[in-house]
Symmetry: C2
Subunit: 690 residues, 2 copies
């Protein structure tokens, strides 16, 4: 903490200062150099979204931009080094995420080509497949589709109805869509560009359905662009956003493909039709094959954080300049950012963005550990799945909320496309339901929490419980299988009483947040106890009666993960001024969570009425403390004009105010300023009195 | 309540039934016939939004649609009967609101032409103005602008900087924009179509500024479409939505207009420059002139409700059909609408939509009373302003929230433009900040609440307070100046204790909701006591420290108004089955409000911990009760296919499922169905055991 010049008023103060550069470096994280390269690309006009294009023009532009990415070596990091890649999985995702600030359609279309289509060939295929197709996929000679989702089945992939039936006579598979609901739907690259697809279908051979497998299927004649025989489709048309991507539907009518087009890493069919797999359990095999999908969720999590950062930079910059200046006010009035409500609207979201960013960095590291093979057990993969399923819903919903609040905080100007909030929000909208619907993902997390809880307490005795409570009371964050441990709540444990004493204390926040997750899981677990002994229908009905609280518990768990990530990141901050300001921001995040769920803490006796009433007041005090550092905190995100590209965040507002001020000053000096009628009336009234 | 056939399963039950037709009639309200005419128009393809058009094409289409409205006599209801209108102010708004379901751009562009531009000439001008311009405005021969907002001033109209300075020599006003921040901004019809404008400017004559007045200014040559000398502008370009409207900027460089172009109903300038006005107080004069603006807020409130209704009809219809059907399930699984979380997401918003709809009908009646002259005192006008300022923020935010939740509840399909949620949401986004920013409007409401509170207790004695409490305890809703009365809270009053006993009781809900508003206003009032004796700066700072709670109090007040409107509407329901179901829905609305603010009720001792824990449970029970009536409740909105126009709400989903089911049935019957590998493994394992 040093004496610093306050950037608002030039007055020296004892305020702590944020070391913007060092904080920016920390935010860039482990893949800082990749992010810098990707941001350099994302700042180039060639990659920027042209607003107002019809969807046909937007699609053409993004297709061209994909070639630009290839030419600039931006998209091959995850591929094998033997083929010109870098075997760098974490870096690959980091680079993709940053593209969102150029155009979310570009990020997602690149994700379809290399992250889904190419990745499926790489991870589900074997040597020959790699040799045959990866070079063309990498170079964009083969634009392709990831044809999994069907009209009749969104998130329930195991139930897709497309079949691939083996014919030993000709050593071919017959790919077939048996009815309309089995059409592949919402498939990127399907409407126009896709020459081939990885098609997910039920593999049937010798009368047995071996479940969902992936097949490489040529779709279109590369010369004419026409569908090949037996293949048809429809254009999904205009969407609420991401209109640079040609989503479409695909259907297959007895389409024959060679036996060797089965991507056979996890399941193969011999020429005579015999099925074999290195994974005996069909369930585990399915889970393994779908595991490669997790990278989509990871990159959406990161992209959502990036979009939130850009929006907050623009809105906070503008709010720090905009004032309702008028002719009669000789002194400057407050800027928008000085208003308490405005601070509430923007700073709480700034705090959440920091938390989500730190949590994303942890997710990305875990992803890299698994995909690089550094830590690649079944348990690691499950933990990664659960972590991504917990964080992606929160960050994508947060991005939509932040973009909307920033847009409203900038008034009508926020709605102009030149200021980008509305454009980014429209494009990111679907992030909440694709690559796993957010609500469905949170249910997966809830089921995992319940399973962990059940496993832990299968053979429970008092000694174990006692150790649990001690573990918490001393503030030790217990980890198991990548999740914060859940345990039975003890209402009278010391940690909670402590929480009631000082809300701003780190351990108190942790105790309150952890306790809520544990208690919610334990209570739901107790309510569902014995449900496996019920009939399918009754069990489902019991589960349904607790669905809402289960999802709330999963959300509470994910919020705790974000809070823990923020707190762990604080430990890595060296500069004391930065640390102090970031601690306020972390406290704001923690207390906002507690405020949001205050009724729970009160109803369950975790906070007293008196203590509850202090939460809002303390948040208001934190807003005032953070105010002088708000610009530093958004500058540390490291996004420049080429990324923010919002007309209102360029200083234009301040220039207009300076001009207006100069006008009124010169008018007053000239003596030509008209007298206000109200002033005149007051003078007349005063004269009458005398 | 009669024995009815449950539409889901055809089984007779003792469930109450909703009389859809009678409820639909009640929802249409006082202006039912106008709404029917307008809906007939809105269902015509000529008026529908063509999705995916670039903004230039969309603008041209909407311009043409305005002519269609003129030809079909849809937009002249508010104009004088002498000129071919109907002098029907309430009916006029009712008709406009319904246009939102055809295309929100059409609603707003029509609102600019006739509701703002034409209305300003009518309400602010006098006989000669009406004769000269209204016929051309009505016929669309003169497309025009309402040029009030400036870049430098959004909601603060009193501070606009454009001047109109009177020159007695030539009997002209000189209209001038002195600097960039004084440009008119975000003006509908300004970029392309506007031939004239009502320009708001500071009226300066004989060296005195008489404040904001309205002037009729020709903008463009009607033949060439070029700006007239001294006038310039810019196109606002693409926006986040409403791209059928050509918003733009306008600036004036010493533009001379005849003296008689001053719309002089509330202020006039004689040839020699002498100013006169029928309203002595400049403040009251300003308020009166701006009063005509309220109709914009009223119609946005109604349009937001209409859009919410259409969205809920589509999403609930789809959720009642969609199931995750798969080959192995021989019985039908639950549809989405049977899931607790899905019910929470949609039914709570359905309840709020009913409440907002009933509240809107009251607002529209009050509007008609004022504008027809039936009840047109200053106090009536102020009440109308406050009521509109309270309801418009809630309904417009609610529409955005509902459209988004419906879109997510329909998954990726909800994001396709063919299902309209994303399109409507984009168009309605700006409703939250135009015609008065929602946050600013709620602050106006809060100030009014504080003023009423201060006036009531200026000379307070114990007897008055006692009467207040008695008034509440007996459930009498006290009205004064159109607002529910605020009074000091007495924690131990009988009404609150009663509330803790039975949350589903109407009087208990009223007591809890009313008490919260009263207490919040009283507490803030106490905190701000004496602020008028502070310096301007210190007073502002004190106010700012309570800004957040003030806005929360205004919101609580508006929610109470919605709850009261719903409750009053219940009294008008004759059919007992309908009344019972609607009472559940009203309870769901009331309890959702209490749940949202549960921490307040707990912290302030209004609800016990035990009672608090029952709120969520009771909401869950209400969801189950409402489930069988959900389709009836959205059908009662009375919107047909031509209004909903969502591909997923046409029964297509059910048809696809029937086809898939028939396929699997015939496959099983033929004996050709492949055996599932999992089934095979289970059989093998069983065989080994034997």
């Amino acid at each position: 903490m040093t004496q610093v010049v306050d950037r608002r008023n030039g007055i020296e103060s004892a305020e702590p200062a944020v070391d913007v550069e060092a904080l920016g470096e920390q935010l860039l994280g482990r893949w800082a150099s990749v992010r810098r390269q990707a941001r350099d690309l994302a700042a180039r006009p060639e990659l920027h979204k042209t607003e107002g294009l019809p969807h046909t023009g937007h699609r053409a532009r993004v297709s061209g931009q994909l070639k630009y990415l290839v030419e600039n070596g931006a998209v091959h990091r995850a591929f094998p080094s033997a083929l010109g890649g870098l075997d760098d999985h974490g870096g690959n995702i980091a680079g993709f995420e940053e593209l969102v600030v150029a155009d979310p359609s570009l990020q997602i279309k690149a994700g379809v080509q290399w992250g889904l289509f190419g990745s499926a060939v790489m991870h589900l295929g074997t040597g020959e497949h790699h040799k045959q197709w990866l070079p063309g996929i990498m170079s964009l000679e083969i634009p392709g589709c990831f044809a999994m989702t069907e009209t009749g089945h969104g998130s329930d992939v195991a139930s897709i109805a497309t079949t691939a039936t083996y014919l030993p006579e000709t050593e071919e598979f017959v790919v077939h869509s048996p009815f309309r609901a089995a059409w592949k739907d919402y498939i990127g690259n399907a409407a126009i560009d896709g020459l081939a697809a990885v098609v997910f279908a039920q593999l049937v051979t010798t009368g047995v359905n071996h479940g969902v497998h992936a097949f490489y299927v040529d779709l279109r004649d590369p010369v004419t662009g026409e569908f090949l025989p037996g293949i048809g489709g429809e254009d999904d048309g205009v969407k609420g956003g991401l209109n640079g991507i040609d989503n479409g539907r695909l259907h297959f009518t007895h389409v024959r493909i060679p036996r060797t087009n089965l991507l056979n890493r996890y399941g193969d069919v011999a020429p005579d039709g015999t099925y074999s797999s290195p994974i005996a359990s069909p369930g585990r095999r399915f889970f393994t094959m779908l595991g490669t999908l997790v990278q989509g969720r990871v990159s959406l999590d990161g992209a959502a954080v990036a979009a939130s950062k850009v929006a907050l930079k623009a809105a906070i910059q503008y709010a720090a300049e905009r004032r309702q200046f008028n002719a009669s006010s000789h002194t400057d009035e407050e800027v928008l950012l000085d208003y308490q409500r405005h601070q509430r609207r923007l700073f709480t979201r700034l705090a959440t963005t920091y938390a989500a960013g730190f949590a994303h960095e942890q997710l990305l590291q875990k992803f890299d550990d698994v995909f690089s093979g550094a830590a690649d057990t079944d348990e690691d993969r499950q933990d990664l799945e659960t972590l991504a399923a917990a964080l992606k819903p929160l960050s994508t919903w947060h991005a939509l909320d932040t973009l909307q609040e920033c847009r409203e905080a900038c008034g009508g100007a926020g709605f102009l496309i030149e200021n980008r909030f509305a454009s980014l929000r429209a494009d990111l909208d679907v992030y909440a339901t694709f690559e796993g619907d957010n609500t469905v993902l949170l249910q997966l997390v809830a089921k995992r929490l319940l399973a962990d809880y059940a496993r832990e307490f299968r053979s429970v005795d008092f000694g174990v419980l006692a150790r649990y409570v001690v573990g918490q009371a001393t503030g030790v964050a217990l980890h198991r299988t990548g999740l914060r441990q859940v345990a039975q709540f003890m209402a009278d444990s010391g940690s909670v009483q402590k929480a009631a004493i000082a809300l701003r204390d780190e351990e108190s926040q942790r105790a309150l947040l952890t306790d809520r997750v544990q208690t919610m899981v334990a209570e739901t677990g107790a309510a569902l106890k014995g449900s496996h002994r019920l009939s399918h229908e009754k069990g489902a009905a019991l589960f349904n009666r607790h669905q809402n609280e289960l999802i709330d518990a999963a959300r509470a768990h994910a919020e705790l993960l974000q809070w823990e990530a923020f707190t762990e990141a604080l430990a890595g901050v060296a500069d004391p001024g930065t640390k102090r300001v970031l601690t306020w921001l972390r406290d704001l995040f923690g207390l906002s969570l507690i405020e949001k769920n205050l009724s729970w803490y009160l109803m369950n006796g975790r906070l007293s009425m008196q203590r509850g009433r202090t939460v809002g007041e303390y948040i208001n005090r934190l807003l005032v403390k953070i105010r002088p550092h708000a610009l530093d905190l958004v500058d540390a995100f490291g996004y420049g004009d080429g990324h923010v590209r919002a007309a209102i965040a360029t200083g234009a507002e301040k220039a207009r105010q300076d001009e207006a001020r100069a006008h009124f000053r010169s008018q007053r000096a000239s003596g030509q300023a008209p007298v206000d009628e109200k002033v005149l009336l007051a003078r007349t009234a005063a004269a009458r009195k005398n």
